[in-house]
């Protein structure tokens, strides 16, 4: 049984590498893939990196995409449209905090819908 995959999208490669490490300290059975920076690792985002990350994180349980700033969302939407994935969704939640919650919930077998729901009520006090 696979779990819902997580893709971390940021304008900075370092940001997503770091978040991936934080999450992977706590969660071991969830695909956490990253798409950070432009194709040449400058500040920005890359549709191609996002597509590659989705492909790696994909299973029939689906994939949730977390992004940092508005233009990353445009590239995330585009990646999904260009390749017509089923069960792949961009989540409107804080990148680090949202992805952490999502990864933990995925690790205990929650569904894509349940996880997305949980990320909508994140507060900073646990």
């Amino acid at each position: 049984m696979s779990n819902v995959g997580i893709v971390l999208i940021s304008h900075s490669l370092k940001v997503v590498e770091g978040i991936q490490e934080i999450i992977q300290q706590a969660v071991h059975n969830v695909p956490i893939e990253i798409a950070g920076g432009t194709d040449d690792n400058k500040i920005g985002t890359s549709v191609q990196k996002i597509i590659n990350a989705i492909v790696k994180a994909y299973s029939e349980k689906g994939v949730l995409l977390f992004y940092d700033l508005g233009s990353a969302k445009m590239n995330a939407d585009l990646a999904i449209e260009l390749y017509g994935y089923e069960n792949v969704k961009v989540v409107n939640a804080p990148l680090l905090e949202g992805a952490y919650v999502a990864a933990v919930e995925s690790s205990i077998g929650k569904s894509l819908e349940e996880i997305e729901q949980s990320t909508q009520t994140i507060t900073k006090d646990s």
Binding site: T38, D39, K42, I43, G44, T45, S46, V47, Q48, L69, G70, S71, M74, N75, D77, L78
Partner: protein
């Protein structure tokens, strides 16, 4: 009017020239209310477009637009990548089997491109984005039976200048709220270059 592969290549080259010439200017506009990379993004993106399209043989504008779209999507890195990329992708779809492009086809293509931009960026008119230039351009095409280069230039220029007095509601400049007022929107300036170049191509033909 009619636009064939050769004229569209001409349009793209003129656009690229203006962008390369104004790279620093676009960047300085983006430095004032954004993250200071619009000149870099657009110059890289359009240079790649020219590199690609000048070394490929096209039998249709639709294929040409598609290569422009894919190049901008993959090479730009900022918001302008998915926005211009989506616009050219929509135009590629609309002009398919309607070549050479007549006035009605151009109108439909730009309208579809604008819809794509709106869907991609979720901006509204007057949010101080390139939508504020694309919207009056599409309106102009819909209003007029015949489209003149000089009118297109004038409408897009006025639209670009009008972004100065607006408050940004989308994109990086939106974080500045009132403090975005008094500055031109960088993406509207690059869109003006696109339409001013198209106006030149149309004028050459008149």
């Amino acid at each position: 009017m009619k636009l064939d592969v050769q004229q569209v290549l001409n349009w793209l080259e003129k656009t690229n020239e203006k962008i390369q010439m104004n790279k620093e200017y676009l960047t300085s506009l983006d430095r004032a209310i954004g993250d200071g990379d619009h000149g870099i993004n657009m110059s890289r993106g359009f240079q790649e477009v020219i590199d690609k399209t000048s070394t490929t043989t096209y039998t249709s504008v639709s294929d040409l637009f598609k290569d422009v779209a894919m190049t901008l999507l993959s090479k730009v890195g900022g918001a302008s990548g998915p926005l211009y990329g989506t616009a050219f992708l929509k135009m590629s779809m609309i002009v398919k089997n309607r070549e050479p492009i007549d006035k009605k086809t151009l109108e439909d293509a730009l309208e579809s491109a604008l819809e794509g931009i709106l869907q991609r960026g979720k901006a509204n008119l007057n949010d101080k984005t390139l939508v504020d230039v694309w919207t009056p351009v599409v309106d102009l095409l819909k209003d007029k039976e015949v489209i003149k280069g000089s009118e297109l230039e004038e409408v897009s220029k006025n639209a670009m200048e009008s972004t100065k007095e607006r408050m940004a509601k989308k994109g990086r400049a939106a974080y500045l709220k009132e403090r975005s007022i008094g500055h031109l929107d960088p993406g509207s300036v690059s869109s003006y270059y696109l339409f001013a170049s198209l106006a030149e191509v149309l004028s050459e033909e008149e």
